[in-house]
């Protein structure tokens, strides 16, 4: 007789509640812009809801949502780049977003501002891995799932990112 146990992932609303802050924080850090972060936040949860039936178990939930969020960030960055190429003076605008952003977050101490800019300059995957590890507290395995790479690769990314930050200091 086949064994069957009824194991369902938590209701979607509960999943949102348990993770909305860390996702918003992640998006805020990745985009550096409040409106962008809010746009992507909405998009992340709508996408997550649409794909929720494909999520197998509760354990996979966190890296899965992070992966959706990081994919969306990457798409947004790519679209920006394309648009920037067509209208050349918009590239200056992108930089100003980066410069402006920290002020309307919280206006923290100078060191934190510097750190944020350094993270923004890291290559995409390294920066995201670092943020997931240090700010969201994900395991390396989970980061690997979110960024579509192995746990070792995720660990290497975080290491490289930290190394670069140290050199900049």
């Amino acid at each position: 007789m086949p064994t069957f146990n009824l194991k369902l992932p938590p209701p979607f609303e509960d999943a949102v509640k348990s993770m909305e802050r860390e996702i918003m924080r992640f998006l805020m850090r990745s985009t550096g812009d409040r409106d962008d972060a809010m746009d992507l936040f909405q998009e992340t949860w709508l996408r997550a809801y649409r794909a929720y039936p494909t999520l197998q178990s509760e354990d996979g939930l966190r890296p899965w949502v992070f992966r959706i969020a990081s994919n969306l960030c990457r798409n947004r960055a790519r679209d920006r780049m394309r648009r920037g190429r067509v209208i050349s003076h918009e590239s200056a605008d992108c930089e100003s977003v980066e410069r402006r952003a920290p002020q309307h977050i919280n206006g923290g101490p100078e060191g934190a501002l510097h750190l944020k800019r350094s993270i923004a300059r890291l290559p995409g995957k390294q920066g995201q891995a670092l943020m997931m590890r240090k700010f969201a507290g994900l395991e390396y395995g989970e980061i690997g799932t979110a960024l579509n790479c192995s746990a070792d690769s995720a660990r290497a990314c975080v290491y490289q990112a930290l190394k670069k930050l140290r050199i900049e200091e």
């Binding site: 007789m1 086949p2 069957f4 009824l6 369902l8 209701p11 979607f12 909305e20 802050r21 860390e22 918003m24 924080r25 805020m28 850090r29 409040r34 972060a37 809010m38 936040f41 909405q42 949860w45 709508l46 809801y49 649409r50 929720y52 039936p53 920290p102 977050i105 919280n106 923290g108 101490p109 934190a112 944020k116 240090k134 700010f135 969201a136 507290g137």
Partner: protein, 258 residues
């Protein structure tokens, strides 16, 4: 380590609050209906059951593999929540079906898991076949509008998402044997017997079974000359005369069934 010194939780919460109305508006379009699921014991064995606001949406015999697959299909159509009271209620209903207290077809069903129109029509008509009567695969195919589709009907019955309540156990072979069942032939016999259909050991219909005609509203012995002349596609087979009379049919004047 989890909390960064730079972005205040209050700022994040304010941003989340601002996105909430937008998300809710978009979700109104996307949202799947809710369904309650549970695992229950029954006279047939363990069952996975699911019920939406429109009615029963799925029953899966858990002694047969594929429970995970059913759950997957359900999750695509519904937001599932585990719900004990709903499962208990269905358990009681199934018990009453076995005691003969209620006819399973009186219960509302939600055919969301059914994808094809042909299958939907077959299930909808099948639910009009009363307890104590059976129909042949061929007869059901003819009713659905395609007399040669008895095999498609076979597949349709085998993939019935709501057995017991969409009474696929009331479909038998044209040669008078009861045919196969997704939940095992033993269970088909159990269900038919619970409805007053005394299936013999040879898996044949009871000797007292009569042929009832849907259009003429007359029932005959199976060997009656009038029954043989009549269109078999429009016949239901009743367990006995009493069941046929109960459905408003009168006895044939030629063969005079009791």
């Amino acid at each position: 380590m989890k909390d960064s010194p730079m972005i205040d939780d209050r700022v994040l919460d304010a941003m989340i609050m601002r996105t909430r109305p937008r998300i809710e508006r978009a979700m109104k379009v996307l949202r799947r209906p809710q369904a309650r699921v549970g695992v229950i014991p029954s006279p047939l064995g363990k069952l996975l059951v699911a019920e939406s606001d429109r009615g029963l949406a799925a029953i899966h015999f858990l002694f047969i593999s594929g429970g995970e697959r059913t759950l997957e299909l359900l999750r695509k159509k519904f937001d599932l929540i585990e719900n004990e009271p709903s499962a208990r209620r269905i358990e009681k209903e199934i018990d009453r079906v076995f005691e003969g207290g209620i006819d399973a077809t009186a219960r509302a069903v939600d055919l969301s898991l059914v994808e094809s129109d042909f299958q939907r029509r077959a299930y909808t008509f099948l639910r009009k076949v009363p307890a104590g009567a059976v129909i042949t695969y061929q007869g059901l195919a003819a009713t659905v509008g395609n007399p040669d589709a008895q095999r498609a009907i076979g597949t349709t019955m085998a993939t019935n998402p709501i057995p017991i309540f969409v009474p696929c156990h009331r479909v038998i072979k044209s040669n008078g044997t009861i045919g196969n069942y997704g939940g095992g032939v033993d269970n088909k016999i159990k269900l038919l017997r619970a409805e007053g259909f005394e299936v013999g050991r040879d898996l044949r219909l009871p000797t007292r079974a009569v042929m009832g005609h849907r259009h003429t509203k007359i029932f005959c012995r199976p060997d009656c000359s009038a029954a043989r002349r009549a269109d078999p596609d429009n016949a239901l087979i009743y367990a006995d005369s009493r069941h046929a009379r109960h459905e408003g049919l009168r006895a044939c004047k030629l063969c005079k069934p009791e």
